[in-house]
């Protein structure tokens, strides 16, 4: 070997610290509740949350559904809204990036709707669709479509002009340039949108369920608040966080598979 391998040793402290900080955090949390520094009516200890979780897996009381049912409702709503926003948002954004007419017609409407927080649509959707699946899917759709459109639009716009000019020189039609040049070069941005849109959808799902729902993880949190059960609130929050993280991880993996070979 011509070169000497450089071995960078990570200090032991750096390996220990993350675990120490997590352990300290949970320990402190448990202790604060255990010794009554924060009363049990305001915060539940991690051990209580765990007990409640195991209990909720089979027990439908006190909020009317088991953990699995709540999670299933939420995931169903989130995925329907998410898929719809991808199916409509990405082609719209791509078209807006390349075709002047599409941009001229849709951009002003999009700019008008974009600054409205999706949560603000909740009252109207309740009027229009009731508190069922359709209303929530609508809110999630509105939340998810914004990053999809923006990212695909920017992706097409960022196509290297040199490539477009070269394609024109070789006589490619506008449609050919769009499908064979702009779309592939916009793909990394589009995949960025998948993650962003998911995060938006998940946040707004919780909001929609907090305000108008009869089951779902957000509803679990609201019920915990109404019943004054901090263990249920914390449980709901943790479940929302964990399921969001898991879905994000899955999409990340899919993205890596699909984009293998494309330099980002």
């Amino acid at each position: 070997m011509a070169y000497k391998e450089v071995v960078v040793k990570k200090p032991l402290l750096l390996i220990i610290l993350p675990y120490a900080s997590l352990i300290l955090f949970f320990g402190l949390w448990q202790a604060v509740v255990q010794f009554g520094i924060i009363p049990n009516t305001l915060l539940a200890s991690p051990s209580q949350v765990l007990t409640t979780f195991i209990d909720k897996l089979t027990n439908a009381n006190p909020d009317g559904a088991t953990m699995g049912a709540h999670a299933w409702t939420s995931i169903q709503e989130a995925f329907l809204g998410y898929l719809l926003s991808l199916v409509i948002g990405i082609p719209l954004g791509l078209a807006m990036g390349w075709f002047n007419i599409a941009e001229g017609l849709f951009r002003p409407i999009f700019e008008l709707i974009r600054p409205i927080p999706p949560i603000a649509w909740i009252p109207l959707t309740v009027f229009w669709f009731g508190i069922g699946l359709a209303g929530k899917v609508f809110i999630i759709w509105i939340a998810g479509i914004v990053p999809c459109v923006i990212n695909s639009y920017v992706g097409v716009r960022m196509t290297s002009p040199v490539l477009i000019q070269m394609a024109r020189t070789y006589g490619a039609s506008s449609w050919q340039i769009f499908t064979q040049l702009c779309i592939p070069s916009a793909l990394p941005m589009v995949f960025g949108a998948l993650q962003l849109a998911l995060a938006y959808c998940w946040t707004n799902l919780v909001a929609a369920e907090l305000l108008a729902a009869d089951s779902g993880l957000g509803f679990l949190i609201t019920m915990g608040g109404r019943l004054g059960r901090p263990d249920i609130i914390v449980l709901g929050m943790i479940c929302v966080g964990i399921s969001g993280a898991i879905i994000g991880f899955v999409i990340d993996q899919v993205e890596k598979k699909l984009l293998a070979g494309i330099r980002r």
Partner: protein, 281 residues
């Protein structure tokens, strides 16, 4: 007579400009923008007039009248401006408090790996939790007053601020470090002359994200319960089934969100003129 010489190229080109034609006029960008807005408003008006959603959608002019009316009479104790100010105040307090703490913390995490090792795992724990999920527990802890609303806004703005400050420093072009090292800069020079300026655009992007997140949060908090603010207008409209009030509130909050984000981007242009952006976005 020298019309064909190369020196007169510009003159020739301007003479060769395509003449006015209907097709060019119809595909002009600004013409299409106007068409689009008009179509949107008339579609909205049509749907409302034909009562496709029964009486749950108001016509644009009715919404406008409602907003004008609100500036003249007191609604729930205050004028329209009072409601706007109430929401704006909450957003500003939460936004400023969160960014004062989050940005330095993010920079610290990126610059010092020990701070990073301590804070990162905790941060990763809280990151995936939507800020709105905190609403219930905030009410339990702080009651239904101002504190709980500001708390939710802080939670919502903290994550994007910190994340962008952190990534802003970490993703600085390594060549810049090499340059300053070659020029004999110390670690302190590196931080002051490279890290901070280079991470500025990312920090501002984080501020924009957290601003829009702050508006979402204030809206959620006000929808849950409040006695003033734009979210209150929407909530009251929902409870008394007045679509004009709901739509009016939505328009107001969109305008406020747009205005504040405009201010931040103007500030960004003043404070870091070296940032290159994609035009026309």
């Amino acid at each position: 007579m020298a019309g064909n010489s190369i020196a007169n190229e510009t003159v020739n080109q301007s003479r060769n400009r395509e003449p006015f034609s209907l097709r060019r006029f119809l595909t002009n960008k600004y013409f299409l923008y106007c068409v689009s807005i008009c179509l949107f408003l008339s579609l909205w008006d049509y749907v409302a007039r034909e009562k496709i959603f029964r009486d749950s959608l108001a016509r644009p002019l009715e919404v406008w009248d409602q907003l004008v009316l609100l500036t003249q009479i007191k609604f729930a104790g205050t004028h329209l401006w009072g409601h706007i100010w109430a929401s704006l105040q909450r957003v500003l307090i939460g936004f400023v408090l969160a960014s004062i703490v989050a940005i330095p913390l993010g920079l610290f995490m990126a610059l010092n790996r020990y701070v990073n090792a301590i804070v990162k795992p905790l941060f990763d724990l809280f990151k995936p939790m939507p800020p709105i999920a905190w609403v219930s527990i905030a009410i339990l802890w702080f009651g239904i007053g101002e504190t709980s609303k500001v708390f939710i806004i802080i939670i919502g703005t903290f994550v994007p601020c910190l994340l962008n400050a952190y990534n802003g420093v970490r993703l600085v072009d390594p060549d810049l470090y090499d340059v300053i090292r070659v020029l004999g800069g110390s670690r302190r020079d590196e931080i002051i002359h490279v890290c901070f300026p280079a991470s500025f655009p990312a920090i501002f992007a984080g501020l924009q994200i957290s601003l829009s997140s702050a508006w979402t949060c204030v809206l959620a908090a006000e929808l849950m319960n409040s006695r003033d603010g734009m979210g209150f207008l929407i909530k009251r409209g929902m409870d008394t089934h007045q679509p004009t009030l709901v739509l009016g509130g939505m328009i107001l909050i969109a305008a406020a969100a747009y205005g504040t984000s405009l201010i931040v981007s103007l500030a960004e242009r003043r404070l870091c003129p070296w940032q290159r952006t994609i035009d026309n976005l």
